[in-house]
Amino acid sequence: MQEIYWPSVFFLLFSGISCAFAVGVLLSQNIVRMAFYLVLSLAATSGLFFLAGADFVGAMQLMIYVGGTLVLLIFGVMLTSQERFIEMHTWAGDWVKAFLAGGALLFILVSAAFSVPAWQSMDRAEAEAVVASKTVTPLGMGLLGVRVDKPEEPDAARRDGMAGYLFQFEIVSVHLLVVLIGAAYLARAKRKRDLPAVQSDGSQ
């Protein structure tokens, strides 16, 4: 018996938690519980990110996803949390159809996961030799458009393809602006006068 390789154990732990709570989200009928499970699942996912050496992204995951997106969702839950919406029963036939389709999908995806040779595990010695490097600086530079890992790339064709993310970084801010204006517009309480066509339709 070989010595236990701790990162793998942690992987099992985190992936187990995130998968288990993902199933929890899926199977639970209670919206409040679902939100809670989702928080735990996403948080465990950030653990997976840390394990893969993506510490900054892991932190972002915790902050934006778990902190931000979920607060938003929970906010929504609270806004609509009347007794009758807490639990909604899904018709059994839908479950079965969903599980059949989902099972097929899962099967295809899992077999895909195992079918690329490059995706198999490294040797233990090889894996232990990998040195953790700081990711924040390269990430920050990458967002500014400078890929500091670019000179290290031996393959010239690949080096050309290493793009900086300045464009996305800038354009996404405009996108967020537009999206927030849109969301604010919809969420604004004031009801608008309807278009003429609406009157015929509004009677329904």
């Binding site: 890929r147 999206v179 849109g182 009801r191 339709d201």
Partner: protein, 570 residues
């Protein structure tokens, strides 16, 4: 290469290459921000938002127009912007002009129908411009993340636009369906993108094409091994295709389309059916050619000096056929016989061709029994998207052996899009004006329209006949050219597509003509007041619909632009 040189190259790339070619998008961004600022400023409420948005759109359009005349497109070449995130070539340039012309017309329509009143105008125009920005990103995407970003940027504001009439039940239902379906499709697409990037180790399309070529898929397939990696690639490509198919509303990912079109205001229907479709098709082209074609090293100087092979009927080119033959011969010689990317192309072509056939047929058949005109047009949109996808399939099938013919196929597609713009915008504009006048969108309420608004009825008839694709109206030419490209592509699959396309033209006759019959033959109902349209409305309809007739009689101009836009694309 050290850090300093990296930064230097970034600066020069950004300031000297990227930003000048990125003017249109910058203008859009600027307008969005400026509109927000104006609203915040004191007294800004009194500035009509329409003016701001219109000004911004016109500036953007002006920036998109070729400065040195349209012929300059021929030497535009291909340039990567922002270190490879975007690509700028004639396709980008053409589609930008296309999108922004549409947006200008669309803004006028929205103002005329009163969809954007003074209070909500700010939000509405911001959303429209934001979605347009996303579409501009889509047409020039060169990186998987840009693709996803573009799709999101175009979709998310559209979700809100669909539900722009807040108090309406159907509108909110449509928005919900669109948003959820879109989110699901985007999720699947992102997963596919992650798989592709994971297998190929890059997200930059040309690099991915290099990696694909290095994988030697034909060899692997021939040896019967390594098929598993290929299958993962196929899976990734397929899942990414789901996102594209959602944007294109291709069957079987079209479900949102009829519901959304019916629930949303007609103006938004025009926006989704024209601009969104065009951007999605451009993205499809980007993906298909980005991954399925690896341009030979700087060789194409010979081809660059020669006029592209073009189709005699619509094009202005006078090159003798022998020259075409010569060109195709050279192309087939240097377009190496066992191209490592041919399996990628085959996969793409088969997938697109099948989906195109199904979409086209399904759309046309399902349109039969519709009672709501917007819903009927939604199915018509699905069918037309299928037809346009056929052109993409033909182009990708052709690229392997003959660049010139592939460019012709693409030019057919661009022509289709341009003419489709006028047809669909016109149709939806008429629907919107009639809705304001008679408060109904049911086909049966259009009875007797020929008597109450003869001009509108005639224009609508013209548009519908053009949508069928009957000569001498404009809709005929692009269909003809698509069929021609399919024929040139040859092979059993393409011929099947050709037959399906031809049959669909016949099928579609019925439901379009039914509307015409209701308008022109059926007696008006007693309960319905005869509608009257204002001067501006009628004028707008005329402006939008007359090109359908004009381009039908004289298709050369648009066809020429489309040819120019695709010339030397590769």
């Amino acid at each position: 290469m050290n850090l300093t040189s990296l930064i230097d190259s970034l600066l020069s790339d950004t300031l000297q290459t990227s930003l000048p070619l990125f003017g249109t998008e910058l203008a859009l961004c600027g307008t969005i921000v400026f509109m927000l600022l104006v609203r915040v400023l004191k007294g800004g409420q009194h500035v009509p938002p329409f003016l701001l948005a219109m000004t911004g759109a016109i500036i953007a359009l002006w920036l998109a127009l070729p400065r040195e005349g349209i012929e300059a497109w021929a030497d535009l070449g291909r340039q990567e912007l922002f270190t490879g995130m975007l690509v700028h070539d004639t396709l980008t340039a053409y589609l930008r002009v296309f999108l922004l012309s549409f947006v200008v017309l669309f803004l006028v329509l929205a103002q005329l129908t009163g969809l954007a009143d003074r209070d909500d105008g700010q939000d509405f125009f911001t959303l429209v411009l934001g979605a347009t920005l996303g579409m501009c990103v889509m047409v020039s995407a060169n990186h998987l993340l840009t693709i996803f970003l573009g799709v999101e940027m175009a979709s998310v504001p559209s979700y809100v636009l669909v539900g722009i009439v807040k108090g309406r039940r159907r509108s909110s239902e449509a928005a919900l369906k669109y948003a959820i379906y879109g989110a699901g499709a985007a999720g699947v697409m992102l997963y596919g993108i992650s798989l592709l990037a994971g297998v190929l180790g890059s997200a930059h399309l040309p690099t991915m094409a290099h990696e694909l070529a290095a994988l030697d898929i034909p060899g692997q397939l021939a040896a019967g091994e390594g098929g598993s990696t290929v299958m993962v690639l196929a899976l990734g490509g397929l899942m990414m295709g789901v996102g594209l198919a959602f944007k294109l509303s291709a069957v079987p990912f079209h479900f949102w389309c009829p519901d959304v079109f019916e629930g949303a205001p007609a103006e938004i229907g025009a926006f989704l059916s024209v601009a969104s479709k065009a951007a999605a098709l451009a993205l499809l082209i980007r993906v298909g050619f980005g991954l399925g074609y690896l341009p030979e090293d700087p060789a194409p100087s010979l081809a660059a000096t020669q006029p592209a092979a073009a189709i005699s009927m619509v094009s202005t080119s006078q090159i003798p056929t022998s020259q075409v033959a010569y060109q195709s011969e050279t192309a087939s010689i240097d377009g190496s016989a066992d191209d490592p990317l041919s399996p990628v192309r085959n996969f793409f072509v088969i997938l697109v061709a099948i989906v195109a056939i199904v979409s086209c047929t399904f759309g046309n058949l399902a349109a039969y029994g519709q009672t709501n005109i917007k819903r009927m047009l939604a199915y018509s949109t699905i069918a037309h998207a299928g037809f346009m996808m056929m052109a993409v399939a033909a182009a990708v099938a052709l690229i392997g052996r003959d660049v010139g013919h592939a460019e012709t196929a693409l030019s057919a597609l661009l022509l289709y899009l341009s003419i489709y713009l006028f047809m669909n915008l016109g149709a939806f504009a008429i629907i919107a004006f009639l809705r304001n006048a008679m408060h109904s969108e049911d086909i049966k309420d259009y009875a007797g329209l020929i008597r109450s608004c003869p001009m509108t009825a005639v224009m609508m008839t013209m548009i519908l006949v053009s949508l069928i694709g009957l000569p001498p109206l404009a809709g005929f030419w692009p269909k003809l050219r698509v069929l021609q490209s399919l024929y040139e592509a040859g092979g059993p699959l393409m011929i099947t597509v050709l037959v399906a396309a031809g049959m669909n033209t016949a099928i579609s006759l019925v439901y379009y003509l039914r509307v015409v019959k209701v308008m022109c033959i059926d007696p008006p109902s007693d309960t319905q007041e005869p509608p009257t349209l204002g001067f501006f409305s009628t004028a707008y309809i005329l402006v939008v619909a007359l090109p359908v007739l004009l381009f039908g009689i004289m298709p050369e101009k648009v066809a020429e632009w489309a040819d120019l836009a695709t010339k030397n694309l590769f």
